[in-house]
Point group: C2
Chain length 126, copies 2
Amino acid sequence: MNNQQFDLSNWQSYGYSCPVEATLDIIGGKWKSVILYHLIDGEIRFNELKRLVPGITQRMLTLQLRELERDGIIHREVYKQVPPKVEYSLTLFGKTLIPIIKSMLQWGIEHTEKIVHHREQANVKD
Amino acid sequence: MNNQQFDLSNWQSYGYSCPVEATLDIIGGKWKSVILYHLIDGEIRFNELKRLVPGITQRMLTLQLRELERDGIIHREVYKQVPPKVEYSLTLFGKTLIPIIKSMLQWGIEHTEKIVHHREQANVKD
DNA sequence: TGTCATAGTATCATTTTTTATACTAAAGGA
DNA sequence: TCCTTTAGTATAAAAAATGATACTATGACA
């Protein structure tokens, strides 16, 4: 029971030091959680998503959607039309993330005003 | 009711497009959620934290802790000793984030194995 | 024939994040 | 006197994330 640290559980074998790190590997980054939030209510087209997430560039939106698709979180449905129509939606697996997104949503609703004010105070000399 | 979009609520007035974005502004980034996870059980010293989060550098740990402190999420207690002793802990406000961290923890516990396997499959040609 | 819309790609530039490395103070002990 | 420890800071460099801009295919429509 000296300096042995085998006991950090088996997360290292997955390449993570804890479960939270693993979760972040899926929903981490500046945009993914926000994208998932908008998908909670159902499928959304590419341009619609772009409008819902102002500030994201077309390139970033594409990249993030591709990663979420690769990880099995969202489904990409292409309609054979011109102009193109592509709809994104949560997979069953992706829906298991909803509790996380909802808790982030709830926290934001309850505490954003406070943190904004708090930062304004701090910015006296920043 | 035409192209008016005033209705995206008042989040823009805070500089965010939705509450989730605001939350990410506090706990976003590669390390903050992991740090908070380790602080759930009580106060931790700097070096102890460094050991619990392998992979993080001393500089990054310092930077992240400073930001969390600035936002009122954690408390920094300095003991006047040599060698120094500094303990970090969640503030009352910081504890409001626990539900988010716990849901991330839970998801990681339940789904990490699946995503690791899933990615191994995908990596046949990656 | 020229124009429009959607859902992208390609290329390059910039910004942000992260790392590596060396350095510091100060008290106690050998 | 030198070495150890903790909790950092300073500086520069590298890597990763993000952004800006221009470009594409396709069919419908004027």
